[in-house]
């Protein structure tokens, strides 16, 4: 029982890491139907930028962890705008179906190479802002930092939902998401909304980066695997549901830890991918996603 609880707790912690990364995929897909395949790199840049401010890699620390977060958010938003302007806008303008896929992947590779040249290629520890002594819950252990990731993920979900439902800007995003042409006719500057959604996407990725870095290690290559797993989470949960991301993340996380323990650690990545295939076969819009009807 204790073991199952430990596996579930660790699985949830792992799943929430995937979930916070997956949020970034959502906002851009909602507004423009495009995805930033450099999401993992946006996450990495946020974490490395945060480490430069709060750690000693660039002669710091200049700021403490909490003060560093707003700076990282601004940095992330800016990085997202660059991705949108360079990689996505030209593709949308020319109505290219797949141009943005190649250009966001290319930008991701460029960002990784730049990061390797600035910060080196090695993995580094990220100083933990809170105690790293594990807490014990009914005999199972959990790190305070893992709880913070959980809180962060839930907070992001609530903020995204509140923003979409309660603010006028959010309504503009939702309107653009449901029909870009109609929203344009209604006086919404849809191009701005798309730029904004990219800023929001990379901002959440950068935030996810500094949030998970104390657990996962920080390095130029940290985004690759996480970005991919988060993509699976976004597909499983549904690309247009905040709730779906959280549930998808938890499902994938728990699937990994329990399979690892009860079946074999060699197969721990398999059930998550099987789940992905099942979702794609049975409910392609994701567990919580709304089916998009494309009128031609």
């Amino acid at each position: 029982m204790e073991i199952l609880l430990q596996l579930i707790l660790s699985g949830v912690a792992l799943g929430m890491i995937y979930a916070v990364v997956a949020f970034g995929y959502q906002s851009t897909f909602a507004t423009s139907g495009t995805l930033n395949f450099g999401q993992g790199e946006a996450l990495m840049l946020g974490a490395m930028f945060g480490l430069s401010l709060a750690g000693d890699v660039m002669g710091g620390p200049y700021l403490n962890y909490w003060l560093m977060i707003p700076a990282v958010l601004i940095f992330g938003a800016f990085q997202g705008m660059v991705v949108e302007a360079v990689g996505v806008r030209p593709a949308i303008k020319t109505k290219s179906e797949f141009g943005w896929i190649m250009s966001t992947i290319a930008l991701g590779i460029i960002f990784r190479n730049v990061a390797e040249n600035i910060w080196g290629k090695d993995d580094m520890p990220f100083p933990s802002p809170i105690s790293s002594t594990p807490l014990h819950i009914f005999g199972a252990s959990v790190l305070p930092m893992e709880l913070m990731v959980d809180v962060g993920a839930l907070l992001m979900m609530v903020l995204v939902e509140l923003f979409n439902r309660k603010t006028i800007y959010g309504k503009a995003v939702v309107a653009t998401a449901s029909d870009r042409d109609a929203a344009g006719l209604m006086g919404i500057n849809t191009r701005m909304v798309i730029t904004f959604s990219y800023a929001l996407s990379s901002m959440s990725a950068a935030f996810a980066g500094v949030l998970i870095a104390p657990i996962t290690l920080t390095g130029a290559s940290m985004g690759a695997v996480l970005g991919l797993k988060a993509f699976a989470v976004a597909i499983i949960g549904g690309l247009n549901s905040g709730m779906g991301i959280i549930v998808g993340g938890i499902l994938l996380g728990i699937a990994e830890t329990t399979t690892g323990f009860y079946l074999s650690t060699g197969y721990k990545d398999v059930p998550g991918l099987v789940l992905l295939l099942l979702v794609l076969a049975i409910k392609p819009s994701g567990l919580f996603g709304k089916t998009a009807i494309k009128k031609v």
């Binding site: 073991i3 430990q6 596996l7 660790s10 699985g11 912690a13 792992l14 890491i17 390797e116 290629k121 090695d122 993995d123 580094m124 520890p125 790293s132 594990p134 014990h136 252990s141 959990v142 790190l143 657990i215 996962t216 290690l217 390095g219 130029a220 290559s221 940290m222 690759a224 695997v225 990994e256 830890t257 329990t258 399979t259 690892g260 323990f261 074999s264 650690t265 060699g266 721990k268 990545d269």
Partner: protein, 398 residues
């Protein structure tokens, strides 16, 4: 006009052309390939190895080079990827025309690449990769000559030492193996199993993890449930650090004993205090306990300024440095930069090479391509962020 050419004109022109190219070559450099990962999780090893080789090459060049020619190193990043390693190999052989290559950090890359060197009859001194079969792929009599040499403690030696440490010295009866899913980890796991079997033991748990895995709960819980008293590891720095951190999180602390990669800076830094006490076989520990070592450590720190004056991977740096000197001695003995002659010279090296790891006295023969022996290897331990001698007695002798 009809010109009468004397009969001897062709050979004379031919000979003078040969003489011309020869004299042009004499002023030329001797090109030596260096292949290793300069990026990614195993880059501390690749970079330290490269820097060790460079340090030795610079010293040799300052002293006038070999056979009056300077050494030119051609460095390539194989990114620890098998397919990239093969590309780098093709490039070094066919475009750069290297006379020999030093390097290979990753067993998988070494195995994928070295058959091209074997085919091209260009000797390779593997100075870091440890997979036991690396030097055994092209053994005579099946192949007329084996071009693959090694200056590094093979996994056979390492697994023997790991098991001896766990079973004989520390008397553990139940051990678990945690190995990564790469060639390195899985071949190492097999060697550990063999070494345990030689003592009539079987691991109580055998777990796998992937590169970049951040959560080790399942693996550690399985080992814990099986009653393991120690964890034997085969992996690289970042993931090994996650194992140490995972143990601290679960509140289950048993000794970690593993392959030499537990000495990597990215293990020590990322595990922090959770990584203390881990033990691993080492051919070199950054401790100036002989004049040669003192000289080497000072020169390395002066040239590359590593953080905290700590060589990222001292073993790789030392073996890289030694491999360059052994190769230089072989080229000198061969009397030319001819790859086949260098191979012969390596197998019958007459001069003693005073290296950092050990003194190389006839390091290779036609049947033995391993320069490092159990006696050249000691147990290291992570202490206060450095790798130190686990046993005081090794510090003096060795």
């Amino acid at each position: 006009m009809h010109m009468i050419k004397p009969r001897w004109i062709k050979p004379v022109i031919g000979a003078s052309l040969v003489a011309l190219t020869l004299s042009a070559q004499a002023a030329d450099t001797i090109k030596i390939g260096v292949s290793g990962p300069l990026s990614g999780g195993s880059s501390p090893m690749g970079i330290s190895m490269r820097d060790g080789v460079k340090l030795a090459a610079d010293e040799i060049n300052k002293a006038g080079g070999i056979l009056g020619r300077k050494i030119e190193l051609v460095e390539r990043d194989d990114e620890a990827k098998n397919e990239r390693g093969v590309q780098v190999t093709q490039d070094l052989i066919n475009r750069e025309h290297v006379v020999a290559t030093l390097g290979f950090i990753n067993t998988g890359v070494a195995l994928a690449s070295q058959r091209f060197y074997q085919q091209a009859k260009i000797p390779v001194i593997d100075n870091v990769a440890t997979g036991s079969i690396i030097t055994q792929q092209f053994l005579p009599p099946k192949y007329p000559k084996n071009y693959i040499f090694r200056i590094a403690a093979s996994d056979k030696i390492q697994s023997h030492m790991i098991v001896e440490e766990a079973v004989v010295k520390r008397k553990f009866t139940k051990v678990a193996i945690l190995a990564d899913s790469t060639n390195y980890g899985q071949l190492g796991r097999q060697d550990l199993e063999k070494a345990l079997a030689a003592r009539g033991m079987k691991p109580v748990a055998e777990e796998k993890f992937n590169i970049k895995d951040t959560d080790m709960t399942a693996q550690l819980l399985r080992a814990k449930e099986a009653g393991a008293q120690a964890i034997l590891t085969y992996g690289i720095g970042p993931e090994l650090a996650q194992i140490a951190n995972g143990m601290a999180k679960l509140g289950w602390k048993v000794p970690m004993i593993g392959s030499w990669t537990l000495s990597m800076a990215n293990y020590i830094d990322n595990a922090g205090k959770n990584g203390e006490g881990a033990r691993m076989p080492q051919t070199f520990i950054q401790e100036p306990n002989t004049p040669k070592r003192k000289e080497f450590i000072n020169a390395y720190i002066k040239a590359y300024h590593p953080a905290h004056d700590r060589i990222p991977s001292p073993v790789s740096a030392a073996q890289g440095y030694d491999s360059m000197y052994v190769l230089a001695a072989a080229i000198k003995q061969a009397g030319s930069a001819d790859s086949a002659k260098i191979q012969q010279a390596l197998e019958n090296l007459n001069t003693k090479v005073n290296g950092v790891v050990t003194t190389y006295d006839h390091p290779f023969t036609s049947t033995n391509h391993e320069a490092i022996d159990v006696k050249d290897t000691v147990m290291g331990e992570v202490k206060d962020g450095f790798v130190v001698y686990a046993y005081e007695s090794d510090k003096k002798g060795h």
